[in-house]
């Protein structure tokens, strides 16, 4: 099976994100970046399918130069090669625009399976994979935890709300959006990290892939969330704060 895995580089989880002076984006200087969490699960699912059935795992990532470090991380974990759609202006597109770039790059590879993460940890549109499927003319399923290959295609386990699941059969080729937690993530080995340096990383410019659509939904402004509820913040040392909290739990909340 030839599997494409879409991987996005996003600000690291604990990074302090600040709003840029334009008010339309975040301040990117001195931010740390990491692999989007659900994409790591998509990569793991792809690597396990390859280990079982053979084939190739190709990483596809759109982003500026810096995304290269996240791509190398995926190669170090075992992906065979990578394609980077280089663009510094992705944040001017919406999910449809980015999906068009990714779908056009993916089409050139004629994959059997395209995996994306369920949702990006920065913009959180939760759509890119579904839109790619639509552009590529392929069936899709989202919120997928596991993938089994069958004689006629694949059977996937889809998460439903409140602890329910469902199996779905799809023909190949298909596009899946992968939810976290279906498999256990591997770490890159030293050997893997070494090998990653020699693996192919093909760069495509966004302009080569055709002009993406102007945004149907434009991000106009970024702001701090409005505070809704006033939390009583308990200050002091850990010990003092703990003592005060216990007083409150005893005399105000009455649970102790």
């Amino acid at each position: 099976m030839k599997i494409i895995v879409c991987i996005k580089q996003v600000p690291e989880r604990d990074a302090q994100v600040r709003i840029a002076s334009s008010g339309k984006w975040i301040e990117e200087s001195d931010l740390q970046y990491a692999m989007n969490e659900s994409d790591a699960y998509a990569l793991e699912e792809a690597l396990q399918l390859k280990e079982k059935h053979g084939g190739e795992v190709v990483v596809l990532s759109a982003g500026p130069e810096r995304a290269g470090t996240t791509i190398r991380e995926a190669l170090a974990k075992g992906a065979d090669r990578a394609i980077q759609v280089e663009s510094d202006t992705l944040n001017q597109l919406d999910a449809l625009g980015v999906a068009q770039l990714l779908a056009n790059a993916a089409k050139q590879e004629s994959p059997d399976l395209v995996l994306t993460g369920l949702q990006s940890d920065d913009l959180g549109y939760g759509q890119t994979g579904v839109i790619m499927a639509e552009i590529m003319g392929l069936p899709h399923a989202s919120l997928i935890l596991n993938v089994e290959k069958t004689d006629s295609g694949i059977t996937v386990k889809r998460e439903l709300e409140e602890g329910w699941f469902q199996n779905i059969e799809l023909p190949l080729p298909a596009v899946l959006m992968i939810q976290s937690g279906g498999t256990k993530l591997r770490y890159a080995t030293l050997m893997g990290i070494k090998k990653a340096k020699t693996k192919e990383l093909k760069k495509l410019s966004a302009t080569e892939l055709g002009q993406p659509a102007a945004p149907a939904a434009a991000l106009d402004k970024i702001t701090q969330p409005q505070k809704q509820k006033s939390t009583q913040i308990i200050s002091g040392s850990a010990k003092e704060a703990a003592a005060t909290l216990v007083e409150k739990l005893k005399f105000e909340v009455r649970v102790i």
Partner: protein, 322 residues
């Protein structure tokens, strides 16, 4: 034609609360033109659903009905709604932000050359659609350029409206769908592992998140839970890692709880976690990041290192009980 439409979603013949919240959001948009939204029910047999929808605060109800619309498939729903939209040219279509909507609405939008403005928490004048960015740490304001505009609303963000007295008019729309258009074959829903803990009835819960860093640190929160006599629960990453069983996961894909006391330790407060616990009577958050969204729903907060605060709290609870 034009106007505001709202797609209602049922599970086993019943609407979820989030569908009524979507009606409220649709009414905000419809009020701009002094009208009421039209509710859409979709399925193979929609008569009873339509009758219920007609008692809600909507101007009309449309039944989009076809044998191939049950069970749900993204291909079936996208094809049916695409035809309906072609016939009616709506300005706005509002959806509840459910897992099902996440699965088909982006495909529908793409067929129309549009995107879904998803998981919206607020609609301001303009209209401007506000949704979370960076896992709830920032808010983004979106404007739609052109139409139709597809919007999905976050669970709990809009107040579900009361019913109206005289039922709305009901019409039917029959889409053309061929079996060959439906490329995926869904199976029956099933439950995960047998539930052996019922967090729903626990009076106190101590929940742990990724701030705990390692599995071997879990004993810190287990000690706190034991001192309080509380059940232990977790955010998704803890269960994803296999550190606690999935039946202890709280949130949209786990359990919904409403204890007297919910202590969130090292949990950031992503919306998918909050929907599972924000109904708790008293919420305590312990987090080193004063900006963490969990403090939005907490009654009491301690901003600090959980590795210092949690052991101190365990001791304080123990001595209070002596």
């Amino acid at each position: 034609m034009s106007g505001v439409y709202v797609v209602l979603e049922d599970r086993n013949g019943r609407f979820g609360r989030i569908s009524f919240e979507a009606i409220a959001a649709a009414n905000i948009l419809a009020a701009q033109s002094g009208s009421k939204p039209t509710a859409i029910v979709i399925g193979a047999q929609t008569e009873a659903l339509a009758a219920e929808a007609a008692t809600k605060n909507v101007g009309k109800v449309v039944r989009i009905e076809h044998a191939l619309l049950s069970p749900y498939t993204p291909d079936g729903y996208a094809a049916a709604l695409q035809q309906f939209i072609a016939a009616e040219s709506p300005d706005y279509i509002v959806f509840p932000h459910t897992y099902q909507v996440r699965d088909y609405a982006p495909a529908l939008a793409a067929r129309l050359g549009r995107v879904l403005i998803g998981d919206v928490t607020q609609i301001a004048d303009g209209p401007v659609f506000i949704r979370s960015l960076m896992q709830g740490r920032l808010s983004g304001s979106y404007k739609s350029t052109g139409g139709p505009t597809l919007v999905s609303v976050q669970s709990g963000a809009f107040r579900a409206e009361d019913a109206q007295s005289s039922p709305a008019e009901i019409t039917t729309f029959a889409p053309n769908i061929e079996a060959s258009q439906i490329r995926t074959k869904p199976g029956e829903p099933f439950r995960g592992t047998a539930q052996t803990v019922d967090l729903g009835s626990a009076p106190m819960i101590v929940a742990v998140g990724r701030g705990i860093r390692e599995e071997s640190n879990l004993n810190l929160v287990q000690d706190l839970a034991a001192s309080l006599g509380a059940e232990i629960a977790a955010s998704r990453p803890i269960c994803d890692n296999g550190w606690l069983p999935i039946e202890r996961q709280v949130g949209s894909s786990g359990q919904t709880v409403a204890p007297k006391l919910y202590v969130a330790v090292g949990i950031s407060g992503a919306i998918q976690h909050l929907v599972g616990m924000k109904g708790s009577q008293c919420i305590v958050a312990i987090n080193k990041d004063a900006e963490a969204p969990i403090f939005e729903v907490a009654d009491y907060g301690i901003v600090g290192d959980l590795f210092e605060v949690v052991p101190a709290l365990t001791e304080a609870v123990k001595s209070a009980k002596l």
